[in-house]
Amino acid sequence: MALMTILDAVNKTLDEQMSLDEKVVSFGEDAGFEGGVFRATKGLQQKYGKGRSFDTPLAESAIIGGAVGMAVNGLKPVAEIQFSGFVFPAFNQIVTHVARYRNRTKGTYNLPMVIRMPYGGGIRALEHHSESIESLFAHIPGLKVVIPSTPYDTKGLLTAAIKDPDPVIFFEPKRIYRAFKQEVPETEYQVPIGKAKVVKEGKDITVVAWGALVRETEKAIKLLEKENISVELIDLRTIQPYDKETITESVKKTGRFLVVHEAYKSYGPGAELISMVNEKAFLHLEAPPTRLTGFDATIPLPKGEHHFIISPNRIASEIKKVVNF
């Protein structure tokens, strides 16, 4: 075991997988020599050579389209997109090819590839560096979408993603890249894709969150303990295909549901969870399943971003609303 941040966990996982499997390659803009703008791939080129860890030209379609070809021809590419806001030039490759190659070839060519991207707000960054765009990918059949919230899960989920025979979009919550450390095994283990985690059991309401907002919700729960509100917190971990069972069971128990996310509200990820809860647990609902989300508005530059931060207080306030409905 070793104490690691989420960022350390990404780096150590890549290192471990590259040492265990010579088919694993890692690349992206600035992801080779200097190890990426966040240093997530630091040291890999020095250790595994320029063939397996490399800098690409500034061209996201080439990064993702190139990964498709590599996967077809025997490699296991782990492509880094520098920030999730810059994945859009590769959206064509992801939607029309990455998601479809297995189906298109009836299983002849599957794509065991991972697309890693830092995502999410709260770091006072330039334009396009703060968005949460998971639902755009979660809507596309053929993709898996994963978001860890702890160093332990990061290593376990990224390991699972690299070993997955299907393409995985791996969003890394950059706001908490270095926020805290956790004991993480230094040998290989997996956290299964598709399984949510009950972070804390409770009986009054089910709250689902992921990424950086899991910790914020934990803080909210602390605030509510004094008020004797017992919250069951679920970390979704995989956005698609997601764990309906764990959520449904919980809602059947609590009768109330809140989903908290940074992404825009309209046509956002929360809508999916609420619909699912309706489908699976309608008769157990004692209050409208509710979403606390980002606004339907472009995330402002840093001097306005504080309005967009979903604070523990705000989560607590929303939980109370649902509980007191």
């Binding site: 390659v25 063939g51 397996r52 690409t56 030209p57 061209a59 379609s61 080439a62 993702i64 389209g65 190139g66 990964a67 498709v68 070809g69 590599m70 996967a71 077809v72 021809n73 025997g74 490699l75 590419p77 030039p89 064509n92 490759q93 029309t96 090819h97 190659y101 297995r102 189906n103 298109r104 070839t105 009836k106 299983g107 002849t108 060519y109 599957n110 059949p141 053929g142 898996k144 025979p165 299907d166 598709g194 295909p241 309906k244 069972e245």
Partner: protein, 361 residues
Amino acid sequence: MLIKKFDPLKKKILEVLDYKGNIVDEKLEPKINDETLIKMYKTMLLGRVADTKALQYQRQGRMLTYAPIKGQEAAQVGVIAALEKDDWMVPAFREMAGMLYKGADLKQLFLYWYGNEEGNKFSKDLKILPISVPIASQINHAAGVAYASKLQELNEVTVAYVGDGGTSHGEFHEGVNFAATNALPLIVIIQNNQWAISTPRSVQTIAETLAQKAVAYGIPGIQVDGNDPLAMYIATKEAKERALKGDGPTIIEALTYRLGPHTTSDDPTIYRSDEELKYWEERDPLIRFKKYMIDKGLWSEELEEKQIEENNNYVNKTFKEVEGTGLIDLDEVFKYNYEIMHKDLEDQINDYKEFLESEGK
């Protein structure tokens, strides 16, 4: 080096056979063995017959949207004939003759245009990637395949196809450049058939040639008479040599022409002239290659007649088989989205099956 000699910036075009089938420069004539030459010609002929019939089937309402290859057989077969079994072919979507030469089954090729994914399920040892509809995006796949060849030290090259229209796309730019910077074993064949649906080559770019786009990537580009299978063959051979030596990618612009419509949904009479069509019909690759084959004593009118009849029968029989496949089973269409189907999709399918049962189906 042909590539040095035929500099597109100097308006040089590589040709071996003129449009009547006479050798332009004997020093350029490749030494291809008779068997290969015959295979090349026969494949072009089969491609032509299959193409003609596919159009007929479509007009009879038996085939779906189909993208004809008529006129482009040499640009396809000349290239693939220069490859080995281990080399990869990354098609755009209008490469039926090339795929046939690489070993694909006509039945499968027809199945694609018949509307069945089976048509893209090429057995792995053929090393043919599926048809790629989003224009030019396959160039990036080809670069990735070539990257993997190089990293794994596999002695193989990748040939990627793209159209004249495709060269305007950002994906073309990124893919070729990626291959160039990594000195990847890639050959990019631009089938410049003069049109992208109704859009003429002149609207795609004001560059005088498409081959000269290579200059942007610091790699060689060459313009070749794409209706001359021998010229396409020698250009590919040389590009392949460079690729395997580690010298990186080459762009080959095949000057050719789509004699048919863009697809069966297209009406080319709207946008192109009879004169243009006539000009190119005279330059039909089959005319000149047949002449060459007859001159070589490898072919004759009798053989031609026999072969066409054989092809007719073969194509008809094949298409009957295709029609025999009919609709695709429910379970089959859902099976390949993931290795293991997720529970919710299973539920969705079961709901649907319940509905079908309730309908008595």
